[in-house]
């Protein structure tokens, strides 16, 4: 019975299916809104769904230079790990898998899709893939430092002089004391987190790893057909998971009391966050170079997160 419950959680809600649907929604919304920002009509909202199914129906060419097993398993690894991360993120009062899972588990699970992309790109044997994985890894190193600082600031704020890493407890703290965003000392951390999200998802201007105009989409260069579809799906899911993590950490105080309405509200907030941090930044910037990206994260964004951590440390 418990196994069935876990399977339900992993596969349907809030795992794979829910994440996929919400991811498609966010991704479609992102494309639509950016088109409207540029005074275009833009693709239909369901465009990511069309893209996914079109790719699923296409031929899948495995290059002769590739390590076939790793090449094929990498997208699946990316997809499955993403489906599981959502299980660990509480949707306001509802948390499915375990109340004990904490920020560090999530931090590490979130690196797995990136690793999967790296393995896939590396295994494809493409020189563009090699450059792509190098940039992907440097991007990961770049945002890791501010991301860690944000997580620690949130944990310290919720815990006081006790160790609280559990997202559920952080949510409960917010239910009592109001959302993190309402505390002024957390606003720099929230800004830093908003800047970390686009790098984690890999959207402009932080899409150096998958720059289609310079390195032919880097690690994805050799992918076609179903595996590519799964990687594109992973990007959509990542969008939902990262914005969901932001919501859980900074806006966790809002709750309606019912799981259904909570989920809808959660997705709606994620939409707003997506538009705020992914779409807007995409619309107003051009792609960075990799060394500038690293500089940007280790200076400005880190500073923002650090300000929050220090403020929280002095009890503000």
């Amino acid at each position: 019975m418990i196994v069935l419950k876990y399977l339900f959680n992993a596969l349907i809600f809030p795992g794979a299916l829910f994440t996929i649907l919400a991811g498609f929604l966010l991704s479609g919304l992102d494309r639509k809104v950016i088109a409207r920002m540029q005074r275009r009509i833009g693709p239909p909202l369901a465009q990511p769904v069309y893209d996914f199914f079109k790719l699923a129906g296409k031929e899948n060419i495995v290059p002769a230079a590739a390590n076939v097993t790793a090449y094929k398993l990498a997208p699946v690894l990316s997809f499955v790990s993403l489906a599981f991360i959502m299980v660990f993120i509480p949707i306001f009062s509802f948390s499915a898998f375990s109340s004990k899972a904490d920020l560090i588990v999530i931090l590490y699970l979130i690196t797995i899709p990136g690793v999967a992309l790296i393995i896939g790109g590396s295994a494809s044997g493409s020189p563009y893939g090699a450059i792509g994985i190098s940039r992907e890894m440097v991007t990961m190193m770049s945002y890791e430092l501010p991301f860690v600082l944000v997580l620690l600031a949130v944990a310290k704020k919720a815990g006081g002089d006790q160790l609280v890493f559990s997202l559920k407890e952080i949510g409960e703290w917010q239910a009592v004391n109001g959302s993190m965003l309402l505390h002024w000392s957390m606003i720099p951390a929230a800004l830093a987190m908003l800047l970390v999200i686009p790098a984690e998802v890999g959207t402009q201007p932080f899409d150096v790893a998958e720059a289609e105009t310079e390195i032919c989409e880097g690690p994805l260069c050799e992918y076609s057909g179903a595996p590519l579809a799964v990687f594109k799906l992973s990007t959509c899911m990542k969008m939902f998971i990262m914005t969901g993590l932001f919501t859980a950490m900074f806006l966790g105080g809002i709750r309606t009391g019912f799981a259904g309405t909570d989920a809808i509200l959660f997705v709606l907030i994620c939409c707003v966050v997506t538009i705020l941090c992914i779409t807007t930044i995409h619309a107003i910037t051009a792609r960075l170079r990799i060394q500038h990206l690293f500089q940007f994260y280790w200076t400005y964004v880190t500073l923002l997160a650090l300000v929050s951590l220090v403020l929280v440390w002095f009890g503000l």
Binding site: A16, A56, E59, I61, V62, P63, A64, A65, N67, V68, K72, V76, L77, F79, V80, A83, F84, F88, F97, S98, D102, V105, Y108, I112, V115, S122, A123, S124, G125, S126, P127, A130, I131, S134, M137, V138, M140, M141, E144, L145, V148, L152, G159, D161, Q162, L163, F165, S166, V208, C216, C221, A226, V230, R289, I290, Q291, W298, L309, V310, W313
Partner: protein, 660 residues
């Protein structure tokens, strides 16, 4: 009980006896291998027999050499004393030696002077096990010296590398600095306390600080810091680990460095009980944090497989020492867990490096590539090792690192000391850099494009793969069943480190500890508020398999790739369908082109981008830092000794200023 009492000393003696027998009888290869294997196996069985009384029942087994029992409450003879802490390390050690021994049968086959190799190997094994089991501080020093000299000789035994002698020489100089410090410290202790027995020292020294004992503590601490390759004592260790034969590198890097860790924990937790002073905690964590950071950044810049692994050992040792310096039970649990994990995954990685060297003859990252097609089993083992060391769930590195972060941040918030938050952040960032450097190795050695001259390389022989499989399995199992593992092995060891009453009583007679009023260290309640990796892992595997089936069977549109001359049978028909399908042909409707990598339209050629410059975007921003560090790693043993001396002076000053 009577029989069991003799087991620790027998476990050590078997190994030394084996060493002598091999030197006498070891002309014949079969006899030699059988003797080495038998010695290590017997010793392992003897130690495994100790699990039940020591780890499960919580006894402490003591043995007086030659029956020299304490007289008038003064320990005169040499005692062997096995508590949970020592036994955990000894078991870890003997497992590593056993696996390395099996690996050596394949790896060292056909090399010269194998009789000496196995003799030295068993000496090394016996001395390390003896170091963990002994209850006498001078005996510890002796064992450390035997370890040093056999390690030096084993390093120099790699006749294929001309730099082996140089590496061995540096190792010797460096370890001599460490052991002379230890010896000086021991002399000071003997001067002051008139005994060398650890249990008795543990009743005299705590709370009994004067300038002499403080100096002794500083010197012994430095000795063990040198032994565990802390920055700045690391450089010559790294050189030696690089040039030693891989089966020995695995031991040196995975096991011998743990001697220092064990010594540090033993003296600072049990003998001196100084660990609860906050200045020592800050010293050790600072040491560990600097070490883990410099180790990993140096590793990112390496272009030799084994040298990179050696720098990672330094970095991981930093984690272990920093966690041990926190003086919380979760911190020590994380530290010991990471020590065990480090032996497993670093051993595994060195064995993989050995397999690559065995196949291709080189460990230069710039000269390798695409080996996963020729050595798929090694590649899988490497992946498991790399994921473990980078701490990806559900592998074992994640569990221990998780404990370390948890402990460090708990320390930070409970003491309100921002310094420990810095430690936590550094540890977390170092973890992702570890991942980065293993991505570099993964891409440079196993993935990417295969070099022409490596077309014909072969997978490692079965006898080399077998220890790799065992280590991979252990990496996964200790990650998933972390709860059972930490209850059986690490829990008792942590308990033993914090409560030494049994340790003292068993050695010196009942009630001795109370007589001298040994203060007990406060032990926190251990709780693992951790996710359930087993359920997670099973679910993950199920869903993963299901997703594989769904994604690849329903569409089923793979173009299968065969070597030239083969036929392509994708479901779409022949290799390039448009030729047949549209009734037209391309001028070069060559399936070869379709399955070649995209090269901007050019004919694909060898274009493996790997090696040391893979993370250019990162190194560009750090080039001043790297210039500085690479200048410091000059390769000159004079420089390294100078750093060591400066560091020793600084540590002594720190101790005298802040620990009195």
């Amino acid at each position: 009980m009577n029989m069991i009492q003799h087991f620790p000393v027998l476990a050590v003696m078997t190994l030394f006896l084996g060493a002598f027998l091999i030197e006498i009888l070891g002309r014949n290869q079969i006899v030699r291998n059988a003797l080495a294997f038998a010695a290590v196996s017997i010793s392992m069985v003897l130690l495994i027999c100790l699990i039940r009384p020591v780890l499960l029942e919580g006894q402490v087994i003591s043995y007086w050499m030659g029956g020299w029992k304490p007289v008038a409450n003064y320990a005169i003879g040499i005692g062997y004393e096995v508590d949970a802490l020592g036994l955990t390390f000894a078991l870890l050690g003997i497992t590593a030696y056993w696996l390395s021994c099996v690996y050596s049968f394949g790896y060292m086959k056909g090399k010269q002077h194998l009789g000496h190799y196995y003799t030295l190997f068993l000496m090394l094994a016996g001395a390390s096990v003896g170091f963990f089991l002994t209850g006498d501080i001078f005996n510890m020093f002796i064992m450390m010296e035997i370890v040093t000299f056999s390690a030096v000789a084993l390093t120099a035994s790699n006749t294929e590398k001309t730099t082996a002698i140089e590496g061995a020489f540096k190792y010797l100089i460096n370890c001599s600095i460490g052991s002379s410090m230890t010896l000086a410290g021991i002399a000071l202790i003997y001067l002051n306390c008139h005994t060398l027995n650890l249990a008795q020292l543990a009743t005299i020294l705590p709370g009994n600080v004067n300038l002499t004992t403080l100096m002794a503590f500083a010197l012994i601490l430095i000795g063990f810091c040198v032994e565990s390759a802390m920055i700045p004592f690391h450089a010559s260790f790294v050189d030696a680990h690089t040039v030693a034969p891989s089966s020995v590198s695995m031991i040196l890097s995975g096991m011998v460095l743990k001697l220092g860790v064990y010594g540090l924990i033993r003296i600072s937790y049990i003998v001196f009980r100084a660990i609860d002073t906050s200045s020592l905690q800050i010293l050790l964590t600072a040491f560990g944090t600097v070490t883990m950071f410099i180790g990993v950044t140096m590793a990112l810049a390496q272009h030799d497989f084994k040298r990179l692994l050696a720098f990672h050992s330094v970095s991981q040792l930093g984690y272990i020492i920093a966690a041990a310096g926190l003086c919380t039970s979760l911190g020590l649990t994380g530290s010991l867990y990471h020590a065990i994990n480090h032996t497993l995954f670093k051993g595994l990685l060195f064995l993989c490096a050995g397999a690559v060297i065995h196949a291709t003859g080189t460990s230069d990252l710039d000269a390798l590539g695409g080996l996963s097609k020729r050595m798929p089993k090694t590649c899988i083992c490497f992946l498991i090792g790399a994921f473990s060391i980078s701490g990806l769930p559900p592998f074992n590195g994640f569990v221990s690192k998780w404990m370390i972060y948890q402990a460090a941040y708990a320390k930070a918030v409970t003491t309100g000391n921002f310094y420990y938050a810095v430690v936590t952040v550094t540890a977390l960032v170092v973890s992702v850099m570890t991942l980065a450097s293993f991505v570099k190795v993964l891409h440079s050695v196993f993935f990417g494009q295969l070099k022409k001259e490596h077309e014909s390389v072969h997978e490692a022989p079965g006898i080399m793969l077998f220890p790799m499989y065992i280590m991979s399995a252990l990496c996964v199992l200790t990650g998933i069943f972390y709860k059972a593992f930490s209850t059986v092995f690490i829990g008792p060891a942590v308990f033993a480190a914090f409560n030494n009453t049994t340790y003292i009583d068993s050695m010196m007679g009942e009630g001795y500890a109370e007589l001298f009023g040994v203060p007990a260290l406060a032990i926190d309640k251990l709780e693992f508020s951790y996710w359930n990796p087993f359920v997670w892992f099973v679910l993950f595997v199920i869903v993963f398999a299901a997703a594989c089936v769904v994604i690849f069977s329903s569409t089923g549109t793979r173009g299968r790739t065969l070597k030239s001359g083969g036929s392509y049978d994708s479901v779409y028909g022949t290799g390039d369908l448009s030729v047949d399908f549209m009734g037209r042909t391309y001028e070069t409707g060559d399936p070869e082109e379709k399955y070649a990598v995209f090269f901007s339209g050019e004919k694909a050629e060898y274009s493996h981008a790997g090696g040391s410059d893979l993370f250019w975007g990162f190194k560009y921003n750090w080039h001043k830092y790297y210039q500085f560090l690479q200048g410091l790693h000059s390769g000159s043993v004079n420089d390294y000794s100078a750093y060591a001396v400066i560091c020793i002076a600084v540590i002594c000053m720190f101790m005298f200023l802040f620990m009195r």
